[in-house]
């Protein structure tokens, strides 16, 4: 199937296409088992897709506008909601941008805790992506397995933060809770379990002849084209472009860790599946290193600790818990701008903040990976068969609420 030639993408008017004889317009979604929260307009000629037009915005809730209307701290939950599968990385990206504005840096222990939670979140996100890929290809077993394997990690995060998905764990200057005592052992058990399961996936899913027949050679995006279209994350690396923000522009304490950036040169749907599994393996290794090397110390910025009330200080010393101080709710960074780039589960999350010296951000800009992966619909899908549409869709791990967030 390597001889698929991607039809050149042209912006001919839609009416012309629908008038053409033999071309059928299909509206896939939003109430469709293979669409998620978006509408994909697909024009097919025979069984071949001629043109695809993603119609997004069904989950557009105005995250940017709402964040400009809220206090800096109150924007954290709003930032988390669109990336509900991968909340920690979104949270982390926003906080890094905010800390740059404020001109402070979290202590090392807090940074390590951030990395640990971010990597757990990446594992959760990748497993969710594999699950969605499975159900789009018609295999409910992989959907169920991947969802089941998320649960141990959700449990661990729940023990740490008290919520299943929306943790709001990272705050300006540090994190809200210190790790519980037996956190390391519990995480190790979960990691061992996951390692065993990954080999199970390879047996039943990755080496399944039907999966290979459907995914290999489908939805090829070359490295050069991927660069031009600006796609991000595992999808980009599956096309052979070695760019991981954790490596090329390290943030937090990622420069302390020794890990690989897996790449595949095929750039097809199958490579995009494999790369997620490889990244899970890398995340496991990062988590082990982090657990081994985590330093002792404070989990909140020194200056903020000093300015805590005695009651809060006592709570912090006893339970390792940062109570929300009035300090955090009245943050007003100096005038200026800042940005952050974070490698989330689906790719690079970009935050851009402009402060005018008040308590609300003047301009709050977030670009999420799914939004930047939209060219997969317009550029990769045409030229394939109709049955390949859900395969490509599933392989790019597209999460509509994330793309529509603004």
């Amino acid at each position: 199937m390597s001889n698929i030639t991607t039809a050149p993408f042209t912006y001919e008017s839609l009416s012309q296409l629908t008038m053409k004889e033999g071309v059928l317009e299909l509206q896939v979604g939003p109430a469709h088992a293979g669409s998620g929260h978006m509408r994909i307009l697909v024009w097919v000629e025979g069984d071949t897709v001629v043109k695809v037009d993603p119609d997004i915005g069904f989950v557009h809730r105005g995250v940017e506008k709402l964040s400009e209307d809220r206090l800096y701290v109150k924007a954290i939950p709003i930032v988390e909601r669109p990336n509900l599968v991968d909340t920690v990385n979104a949270n982390l990206g926003y906080i890094i941008a905010l800390e740059k504005l404020l001109g402070l840096e979290a202590p090392p222990r807090a940074q390590y805790i951030r990395v640990i939670t971010a990597e757990i979140s990446r594992i959760i996100s990748h497993l969710y992506g594999i699950a969605i890929y499975g159900i789009f290809m018609g295999s409910s077993t992989v959907f169920m397995w991947a969802l089941a394997d998320r649960e141990p990690f959700i449990d661990i995060m729940e023990e740490l933060t008290g919520a299943r998905l929306t943790y709001s764990h990272i705050i300006p200057g540090g994190v809200r809770w210190d790790l519980p005592k037996d956190f390391g052992e519990r995480l190790e058990v979960a990691l061992k379990y996951l390692e065993g399961r990954v080999s199970d996936y390879e047996k039943i899913w990755m080496n399944n002849p039907v999966v290979r027949a459907r995914a290999e050679g489908v939805g090829i995006l070359s490295g050069a084209k991927a660069t031009e279209l600006g796609v991000v994350g595992p999808n980009l690396r599956a096309s052979g472009v070695k760019c991981d923000v954790r490596k090329c522009a390290p943030y937090s304490v990622y420069s302390d860790f020794d890990f690989d950036v897996p790449t595949f040169k095929e750039g097809d749907s199958y490579a995009r599946l494999l790369i997620r599994v490889e990244e899970i393996k890398q995340s496991i290794s990062i988590l082990r290193q982090a657990l081994k090397n985590i330093p002792e110390g404070k989990i909140i910025y020194e200056d903020y600790y000093k300015r805590m009330t005695p009651l809060m200080k006592s709570i912090y010393d006893e339970k390792g818990r940062v109570k929300f101080t009035s300090l955090l709710t009245s943050l007003s960074p100096p005038k200026g701008q800042s940005f952050s780039r974070v490698e989330g589960g689906r790719g690079e999350i970009f935050f851009y903040l402009i402060s005018d010296g008040t308590k609300n951000p003047y301009r709050f800009r977030v670009v999420t990976p799914s939004f930047r992966n939209l060219p997969y619909f317009t550029h990769v899908m045409p030229g394939h068969k109709l049955a390949d549409v859900p395969v490509i869709y599933g392989s790019i791990d597209y999460f509509p609420p994330e793309a529509d967030r603004r």
């Binding site: 557009h60 660069t227 090329c248 701008q337 970009f350 060219p375």
Partner: protein, 167 residues
């Protein structure tokens, strides 16, 4: 904080006199400010230098001063040295007639972001191939929600016009 650092100087030399290049050291951001008429040339030069993809297109609204900043954030995948840099290419345009050239011809990755900026701010991207609305429903078209004069309700009671929150 805005300073003529070595990076900025190098970039300024490469871009020629049509752009003013500064580096916001605190943010780690290289700012390139251009006049609208030089936008195309500068963007092409940036692409030649290796900034091969556009991360985001956005606008910042300043209603009191009556102008808008349209910002392209660009970075690089192919050049590892440039990979950890982020360049913001800023154009200041009038708020009454927000028109600016589209850079889809230079960075194809800015296609969807420009569509979005158009519907959120009303910025007209000249030469954009496809400026249909992307995210907003029909009811909100032409209201430019992200402009600063689009004000959200401040109190919850404003929302319940009919009174009584329960069905």
């Amino acid at each position: 904080m805005l300073a003529e650092t070595p990076h900025a100087q190098k970039l300024g030399l490469a871009l020629g006199g049509s752009a003013s290049v500064t580096e916001d050291q605190k943010a780690g951001l290289i700012e390139v400010r251009v006049e609208p008429k030089f936008l195309m040339d500068v963007s092409k030069k940036l692409k030649e230098l290796g900034f091969d993809h556009c991360v985001s297109v956005t606008a910042v609204d300043y209603p009191r001063e009556n102008y808008m900043d349209v910002i392209w954030h660009v970075s690089s995948y192919s050049n590892e040295e440039l990979g950890n840099k982020l360049v913001s290419l800023t154009v200041r345009i009038s708020r009454d007639e927000p028109r600016v050239g589209s850079l889809v011809g230079v960075w194809e990755s800015s296609l969807f972001s420009e569509r979005e900026t158009h519907e959120m701010f009303g910025v007209e991207f000249e030469g954009h191939p496809d400026l249909r609305p992307l995210l907003l429903p029909e009811e909100l078209l032409g209201k430019w929600p992200l402009r600063k004069d689009f004000i959200l309700p401040k109190r919850r009671s404003d929302l319940f016009r009919k009174g009584g929150a329960q069905p």
